[in-house]
């Protein structure tokens, strides 16, 4: 049954997504692609939508995938699934385990998880870049570079460093999304 599957899948994502929004990207990407719920392109489109709307990425993506697979009920089950672990864990800590963060075992576990999350984000970004810019998603694929995407990618990084130099902080995501939308509409319009 799709509702139960959505609920359980997002329950698992909710219980293991350490490290905030981007920390869960690898898990969500794997899950939605291996279940055939979204394609790689649809997933990327949705991340952009989620970054341009308010609210946590986890709730946004659960609602979206739930809705695409099972309408309004699907999105309710998926969202409930992703929220429930947080809710239960935090209630337990606030009410019962007041010294939770002082246990050495907990800190030791988190010490191992922290670098793992960073590694997962970086690895996901690299495999996404390989597939979007070079057309490689497995070793058997031959390299089909997408020149326009590669140029756009380079432009975004140049802007990133220029902005950082001027304002001492990274450019806001929404600005970069709008800009690449405009550039995309211009450069992908023409066949090379």
């Amino acid at each position: 049954m799709i509702y139960l599957k959505l609920f359980l899948t997002f329950l698992m994502i909710g219980s293991l997504s350490f490290g905030g929004g981007y920390g869960m990207i690898s898990l969500v990407r794997e899950t939605v692609i291996s279940n055939g719920w979204l394609t790689e392109d649809e997933f990327l489109n949705f991340i952009a939508v989620s970054e341009s709307t308010p609210g946590p990425l986890a709730v946004n993506i659960a609602t979206f995938v739930g809705s695409s697979q099972g309408g309004i009920l699907g999105s309710l089950f998926a969202t409930l699934g992703v929220i429930l672990p947080s809710f239960v864990i935090i209630l337990l800590i606030a009410a019962v385990l007041k010294n939770f963060m002082k246990y050495n075992g907990v800190n030791a576990f988190l010490m191992g998880v922290r670098p793992c999350i960073v590694a997962m984000i970086l690895a996901t970004a690299v495999s996404m870049a390989l597939s979007a810019l070079l057309g490689i998603s497995s070793v058997t694929d031959s390299i089909v570079p997408d020149i326009r995407s590669a140029v756009l990618f380079a432009v975004l990084w140049i802007l990133h460093f220029a902005y950082k130099k001027a304002k001492c902080s990274a450019p806001p995501p929404i600005l970069m999304i709008l800009l690449s939308g405009v550039l995309g509409a211009v450069i992908f319009r023409f066949e090379i």
């Binding site: 909710g14 219980s15 293991l16 997504s17 350490f18 905030g20 981007y22 690898s26 898990l27 794997e30 990327l44 939508v49 989620s50 970054e51 709307t53 308010p54 609210g55 946590p56 986890a58 709730v59 946004n60 809705s67 992703v82 929220i83 947080s86 809710f87 864990i89 935090i90 209630l91 800590i93 606030a94 075992g105 030791a108 576990f109 191992g112 998880v113 670098p115 793992c116 999350i117 590694a119 997962m120 984000i121 970086l122 970004a125 690299v126 979007a132 497995s138 995407s149 756009l152 990618f153 975004l156 995501p173 929404i174 970069m176 999304i177 939308g181 995309g184 509409a185 211009v186 992908f188």
Partner: protein, 189 residues
């Protein structure tokens, strides 16, 4: 106004207007609950941030549950969590109904081809930023490189290995290193 109603409305507002992820929200929460309403002490707020960051799940949900519980018990935590999720839920549900038709427009399709590249950039820059915040030591470097290598290998050779295991194994390695250190210290004494 009753405190539970104020709690609900405040989190509804935070859910509807926080762009830019969890950390933007922490500043807003502090402004609302510590400075304006003075319902929570600064120290307690900082403890809350540590717990919310170290437990799984979105920062927004974690802090809503925690603050809700501190102010109005279990009912408060349910109200605050519900309130912070409702705006996302409604906005994204509406978008999900129209996104496909929207993408059928030719220029929108081209724009999204550009935006897909931007998302790869966003994820990579988020990863690099987090890498900068990681303490530089042997333990972190070993885990980092092993996980990156394992994940890229699995992705390129189409081996199905869920990153759930990466998280659990890394956590277990953290606990084992801690236990080994403890045993080592005992032996010295």
């Amino acid at each position: 106004m009753k405190r539970s109603a104020a709690l609900f409305l405040t989190f509804l507002k935070i859910g509807a207007f926080t762009f830019g992820g969890g950390y933007a929200m922490i500043a807003l929460l502090e402004n609302e609950f510590v400075e304006k309403k003075k319902w929570i002490e600064k120290d307690e707020f900082l403890d809350m941030v540590v717990v919310a960051e170290s437990t799984p799940g979105p920062l927004a949900i974690n802090s809503a549950t925690y603050i809700g519980y501190k102010l109005e018990g279990i009912v408060g935590s349910a109200l605050a969590t519900l309130a912070v999720s409702i705006p996302s839920f409604i906005i994204i549900f509406c978008i999900s109904l129209f996104l496909d038709q929207f993408l059928d427009l030719k220029y929108v399709f081209y724009a999204f081809k550009g935006i897909q590249v931007c998302v790869v950039y966003l994820i990579l820059s988020a990863g690099i930023k987090m890498l900068g915040g990681l303490e530089k030591n042997l333990f972190n470097t070993v885990i980092l490189l092993t996980v990156i290598a394992a994940m890229l290998f699995c992705s390129l050779f189409v081996v199905s290995f869920s990153s759930v295991f990466c998280i659990l194994i890394s956590g277990a390695v953290g606990v084992s290193v801690y236990l080994l250190k403890k045993i080592g210290e005992k032996n010295k004494k």
